[in-house]
């Protein structure tokens, strides 16, 4: 009998004693929700009326022609309300918070997508909301901070540590241990202590359920391969979980940053730089030094810039069920550019990692094959980063003029 919350040797629940009772309550609420078909129906209804579900599966005809191999389909999580798959998890946890009768939610955010989604859910359900965000990410993703604040959330920049996602998670835990009676921590990805990896995967599995039905309807066949970017692993687990029992190759794409050989990356499973560890409440592969101190990671995509990875994905790597690769910052910007031009789609920088690997492999497959890329989010939020990457002169001038305008006031 495997212990609850373990996936092979990964997962678990390494939490301070003060949180044990809170986790017991959460596990219980989650188990009840899972056992209650009404809960999932309510969830489906909410996602249909509030967040554009089911999201379409789009045939990328021009990209298919361009690469001349497999037929490329794109699962459009970018069309969720707030622009990313994060909404699936957040609305689901929001329903759970209502069941538990709590009135406040907190969350960490890297790219800001999860923060915006949580602030949106809090506004809709009438919860107080505090979002923790690394200072570096606040700078990278300022537009999302703007929206979180408009939505009524308090955004707290985290100035300790590497000032990115992992530090925001630590701060959220610190808040939670002080306020758990009335507060739920809406963890944004399939990481952390049990039941989060399982619970987030459950809510995100809506992606895979839809995609499987859609691809069969549309093409009459299962895809040969599915590509998804991997930060913490929630969008990947979401789409993969629809196909785990099928003869479908699953490919997770991590942040290769400036290149695996430079050390400036966030590839926990695609590189040999990570090792088994226990942090942030769970056991998985972490990018850490020999002493067990977490390292700095790098990615052009804030949402992939994280030291750990879902324990479920670590397990699926170990069993060989999921293959992992990495995409560099430069490759990502190129793939993004190509997708915008060829299809008129704007994937988030995070999502574009999946596109990179799919583009590398599509030409090697036959036209009889179908592949699916999970477009986890839309790229509008990345306008500052992308404009910089493209060295866009018109954009720079606009920013200069805008700054002058403010200074003149």
């Amino acid at each position: 009998m495997p212990e609850p919350g373990y996936y092979g040797q990964f997962g678990g629940s390494f939490i301070p004693e003060i949180l044990v009772a809170t986790f017991e309550e959460l596990v219980q609420a989650f188990e009840q929700a899972k056992a209650d078909p009404e809960f999932w129906n309510t969830y489906l209804k909410l996602m249909g009326s509030y967040s554009c579900r089911p999201t379409p599966l789009t045939y990328a005809e021009n990209l298919t022609r361009h690469f001349g191999g497999a037929r490329i389909y794109i699962k459009r999580e970018d069309l969720n309300h707030t622009g990313a798959h994060k909404a699936n998890n957040v609305m689901g946890q929001g329903l759970l918070v209502k069941r538990m009768g709590k009135g406040r939610v907190i969350a960490e955010t890297g790219a800001g997508q999860h923060g915006v989604a949580t602030a949106t859910m809090a506004a809709k359900f009438g919860f107080d909301c505090t979002i923790y965000m690394g200072e570096i990410d606040v700078q990278r993703q300022r537009p999302n901070v703007f929206w979180m604040e408009r939505l009524g959330a308090t955004v707290i920049p985290v100035t300790e540590g590497t000032r990115t996602l992992k530090d925001a998670i630590n701060e959220a835990f610190r808040d939670w241990v002080s306020a758990m009676d009335d507060t739920h921590y809406v963890l944004g990805t399939a990481c952390g202590p049990h039941p989060f990896p399982e619970m987030v995967t459950w809510f995100q599995s809506i992606i895979g359920l839809e995609a499987r039905r859609q691809v069969l309807e549309e093409t009459g066949q299962l895809p040969a391969r599915i590509y998804a970017c991997v930060g913490g692993g929630s969008n990947a687990m979401g789409i993969f979980s629809g196909f785990l029992d099928d003869d479908v190759e699953l490919v997770g794409v991590e942040a290769g940053g400036r290149g695996l050989e430079t050390g400036a990356h966030a590839a926990r499973l695609a590189s040999s730089d990570a090792s088994l560890g226990v942090a942030q409440g769970y056991k998985t592969f972490f990018l850490q030094d020999d002493d067990g101190q977490m390292k700095e990671t790098h990615s052009v995509a804030a949402g992939l810039d994280y030291v750990g990875v879902s324990p479920i994905l670590s397990h699926l790597k170990e069993t060989g069920r999921v293959r992992f690769s990495a995409a560099t910052d430069t490759e990502v910007v190129d793939a993004l550019s190509l997708t915008i031009r060829k299809e008129g789609l704007i994937p988030a920088l995070e999502s574009a990692h999946g596109f990179v690997q799919a583009f590398k492999e599509a030409p090697t497959l036959s036209h009889d094959d179908v592949i699916i890329i999970n477009q986890s989010g839309r790229g509008d939020k990345d306008i500052f980063t992308v404009a910089d990457a493209f060295e866009d002169p018109g954009w720079k001038q606009f920013i200069r003029d805008k700054a002058k305008e403010y200074d003149a006031r």
């Binding site: 540590g161 241990v177 306020a179 009676d181 560890g277 942090a279 002493d291 977490m294």
Partner: protein, 258 residues
């Protein structure tokens, strides 16, 4: 063993003091001087924290000390050597405190072995609940070390019984919700909680989180066996330098003769 040592000390002092430092903050030289000052001021037992990059149970003051110590280049090996040095030099028991990853990466059994060789008596690992602790418990037992577990006000009676069954030396009772370093209200609420802890175990009870002055320590007299002073000594060092430590600690209890 540790429990008996503490009980013996309680024949002189009703309430014992356990103080906490983050090794290597602000420097190992200063850490040594702080330990020296604490021992001179009559502290009965100390916790030595090995800094970790993700100290989720610690508040801003100790978090900051962890970060600075790491930035200054402190390593696990250096911390263990420091622990060995003070355990040899000073005649009080020393516990290690750190997060589980530090032990896990080192190798849990190798870590326990090294602790025992260094003359350290036990460890506190705040992110390791007993449910995840099989390997740790075996290693601590094999090397005759005290695994100190934590109770909190939200711990049920049933769970308290389960936790104290695997705890050795002393039990660390967290005074309240939250992280280290915030204020604790020392009121009658604490009473019923400490009474529950007392009913769960015969081991000495150490109450920690938010103990900062003489009034707090006075309140704990007769209710707990040890008062844990953590964040406040770091604040004292930051504000008054190492010189401030001895008078601060001495001021927490009446002089022995009284």
């Amino acid at each position: 063993m540790l429990a008996e040592t503490l009980r013996a000390k309680q024949r002189e002092r009703e309430i014992l003091l356990m103080t906490h430092i983050v090794m290597g903050y602000p420097s190992f030289d200063d850490s040594l001087r702080v330990v020296e000052a604490m021992v001179e001021a009559g502290v009965e037992i100390m916790e030595l924290q090995i800094p970790f990059s993700e100290p989720i149970a610690d508040g801003p003051v100790i978090l900051h000390a962890n970060q600075r110590s790491l930035q200054a280049g402190s390593s696990v090996e250096r911390c263990l050597a420091f622990g060995e040095e003070v355990a040899k030099r000073f005649d009080i028991p020393f516990l290690l405190m750190s997060y589980y990853n530090i032990l896990f990466k080192y190798g849990v059994d190798a870590f326990a072995k090294r602790m025992a060789e260094a003359g350290l008596v036990g460890a506190i690992v705040p992110d390791l609940p007993p449910e995840e602790a099989d390997e740790y418990l075996a290693a601590m037992a094999a090397h005759d070390l005290a695994p100190v577990f934590i109770l909190s006000p939200s711990t049920t009676d049933e769970r308290m019984a389960r936790i104290t069954r695997v705890t050795k030396g002393l039990v660390y009772c967290v005074a309240r919700k939250g992280v280290t370093g915030q204020d604790t209200s020392f009121s009658d609420d604490l009473d019923s909680y400490l009474a529950r802890c007392r009913a769960a175990t015969d081991l000495p009870l150490a109450l920690g989180f938010g103990v900062k002055d003489r009034a707090d320590v006075d309140f704990l007299r007769g209710r707990a066996d040890l008062a844990v002073i953590g964040t406040q000594t770091i604040r004292v060092v930051e504000e008054q330098g190492v010189e401030g430590v001895k008078p601060f600690i001495e001021g927490l209890r009446p002089p022995l003769s009284a």
